[in-house]
Symmetry: C2
Subunit: 168 residues, 2 copies
DNA sequence: TTAAACTTTCAAATATTTTTGAAAGTTCGG
DNA sequence: CCGAACTTTCAAAAATATTTGAAAGTTTAA
């Protein structure tokens, strides 16, 4: 396969992949494009490569910056802004874990805390089933929360070298 | 908060949560409902509780069964089918991990293998950036694949007890 | 074998999300 | 300042995903 085709496949699959993870297609595609680009790209470059509108490009680049996956780059002698993506994939993974934890796991834990205090007859089977489920989800979520915190601080070498052995 | 309201909140939040994870709202809501129900429910019960149509209920229950999260239950003396969800949340998590790995990680690995063989001048900076990125994603994905395999086989006690310590 | 009870399907309708692009806003060199 | 270069916004349009419900299919008790 030629580079041009391979690049297209990578971008398009990364986009499809993103949609299974609550990330929109364009945002994932821009990310993919920047990850495989040796140099920073301007918004116009991105629009041209991916065939998307100015508004779409702008909004999704901004979102990638919010997620900490892309940064603005100043190119000497150029008026416009350029963008480049973090290339260290382990950093990317940690950054995504960190953001999703903040956006999803933490609110979920808050909800579970609140739901655990539901009032009612603890002998009633509906009450019991509810509290059991909420309680066990909370327990697991708390554990996941702590584990992810530690993972966010870990080095790639840990992941690549040590985790597997532990499981065995 | 009263049980009725708490149940509704749980169901509705579990549904919203699901949408961030590529699971549709109704499917997640049915799952939530079944998890907090002391007894198995019929399709009509589910339709009534969640206010959804027959077709929608049927399709999403089927999908939950495909995912291995819900099972059909025979209730003595009843003609219709009943459904119940796995209550052991650790089993639920492992099951979800297993399915997503199969559906997403494995196809991704196949793609990366293919893309790694892209032909071209390895001195060209576009080529180099592409191969570097693809290569490092592949490396990490392979590691994740193995790690998840081991996790799928692990006991809850492992997760709750041991993982955290290792990270430190 | 029949018909009532129940389940599944799927085309059309609805809802949700994403994208567009033109207009408004901002920045900066001169 | 001015105006060209550039960025951001957002209402409307398009694309995508989900839901409906009636019709077709299946199962079972008698």
């Amino acid at each position: 396969m030629k580079l041009t085709e391979a690049r297209q496949q990578f971008i398009s699959n990364w986009g499809a992949f993103g949609t299974h993870w609550g990330i929109n297609r364009t945002m994932a595609q821009i990310h993919a494009l920047l990850m495989i680009s040796p140099d920073a790209l301007s918004q116009d470059d991105i629009m041209a490569e991916l065939n998307i509108s100015r508004g779409n490009a702008n909004m999704n680049i901004r979102e990638l910056i919010n997620w900490g996956l892309v940064e603005r780059v100043i190119v000497a002698g150029e008026r416009k802004e350029f963008f480049s993506a973090e290339k260290d994939i382990w950093k990317v993974v940690r950054q995504i874990v960190k953001e999703r934890k903040k956006r999803e796991l933490e609110p979920m834990l808050q909800l579970l805390d609140k739901l655990e205090n539901t009032e009612g007859d603890k002998k009633d089977k509906h009450m019991k089933a509810f509290l059991d489920t909420v309680g066990s989800i909370k327990k697991l979520s708390k554990q996941a929360d702590k584990t992810l915190d530690t993972m966010i601080k870990a080095e790639e070498s840990w992941f690549v070298g040590n985790l597997l052995k532990l499981f065995k």
